[in-house]
């Protein structure tokens, strides 16, 4: 039990994660500078989601913490997704 709450992540892992996040940032800047019109938004948000997933999993230790944290965070994102869907359904059909 105490093992899971005292998992020590190495400096190297954090360094690699930063490198990955910087690459994803570079890609999103490069991609949005080209005029992809309707795809720009989708690609930029997809890359931002990938980045936030990495931050949540490694920097915020969700990968190493007890399962309850992953369940709760997952539930919150589902809730948020539901609110977005309901809002846009409302706007699409009014």
């Amino acid at each position: 039990m105490s093992d899971s709450s005292h998992h020590i992540v190495s400096y190297r892992t954090y360094g690699l994660i930063l490198f990955l996040l910087l690459i994803l940032t570079g890609v999103s800047v490069a991609v949005t500078q080209i005029e992809l019109t309707r795809w720009t938004m989708a690609v930029a948000l997809l890359l931002a989601s990938a980045k936030s997933f990495i931050v949540l999993a490694i920097f915020m230790h969700l990968k190493f913490d007890q399962r309850i944290f992953r369940v709760m965070v997952g539930f919150i994102f589902l809730l948020f997704a539901a609110v977005i869907i309901v809002t846009f359904l409302d706007y699409a059909f009014r």
């Binding site: 020590i8 930063l18 800047v29 930029a44 936030s52 965070v73 609110v83 846009f88």
Partner: protein
């Protein structure tokens, strides 16, 4: 589980503390989430105005601030590793670097905002009133959301500043670092919000 046999005098529940921090983070996520929905709806209703208005923002400054926040996120994450490995000096250095990067972020934000304001782009400005509803909405949301984010940076700095002081005077150490880890979680939240603010305001035009 061997911990349960020993009774400490101080009342501490690290797991409960972390759980509480996450619950608070959820309220923050939904606060900004609501604002992102407002942004999405208004962008949908004023596509051309948002397109032109977004071109006013400097991608370079936005990118620099993104890199600053990502690096600071790494240094604060590393500070937890350092304190777990009983390296007090490195812990303090890493929190210190995080605080300096946070300050640099705010200085950048200051120059960015004053640039916009000197061009007459601020909520309620005569220039903005003439540009029409879409621009008023874009810059209203820009100042409100980046402003609220900047407030979170300041709160995060206070939080991590308290962590720094407590590590320095020995109140936080390798077997009692939950406050520092919670401060780190808060700092990553600030980073997480910026990860979405950056493309939505600076990149997508």
């Amino acid at each position: 589980m061997s911990e349960t046999a020993i009774h400490h005098d101080e009342h501490r529940d690290d797991l409960g503390s972390k759980l509480g921090m996450w619950l608070f983070i959820f309220t923050e996520l939904l606060l900004f989430g609501g604002l992102f929905i407002v942004y999405a709806v208004y962008r949908n209703a004023n596509q051309d105005a948002f397109h032109i208005a977004a071109k006013q923002l400097d991608v370079t400054v936005g990118t620099i601030n993104t890199v600053i926040l990502l690096i600071s996120s790494m240094t604060i994450a590393m500070s937890t590793t350092a304190i777990q490995r009983k390296n007090k000096k490195l812990t303090l250095i890493l929190i210190g670097i995080t605080l300096i990067l946070a300050l640099v972020f705010l200085v950048n934000k200051y120059f960015e905002w004053s640039g916009k304001i000197s061009h007459g782009l601020y909520p309620g400005s005569p220039i903005l009133e003439d540009l029409g509803q879409g621009d008023i909405l874009f810059f209203g949301l820009y100042f409100f959301m980046t402003g609220l984010h900047a407030v979170h940076i300041i709160v995060g700095m206070v939080f991590l500043g308290v962590g720094y002081m407590r590590v320095r005077n020995g109140k936080l150490s390798f077997d009692n670092y939950q406050l520092l880890e919670n401060g780190g979680l808060y700092w990553h939240l600030v980073d997480l919000i910026w990860i979405f603010l950056f493309p939505l305001f600076y990149l997508i035009t």
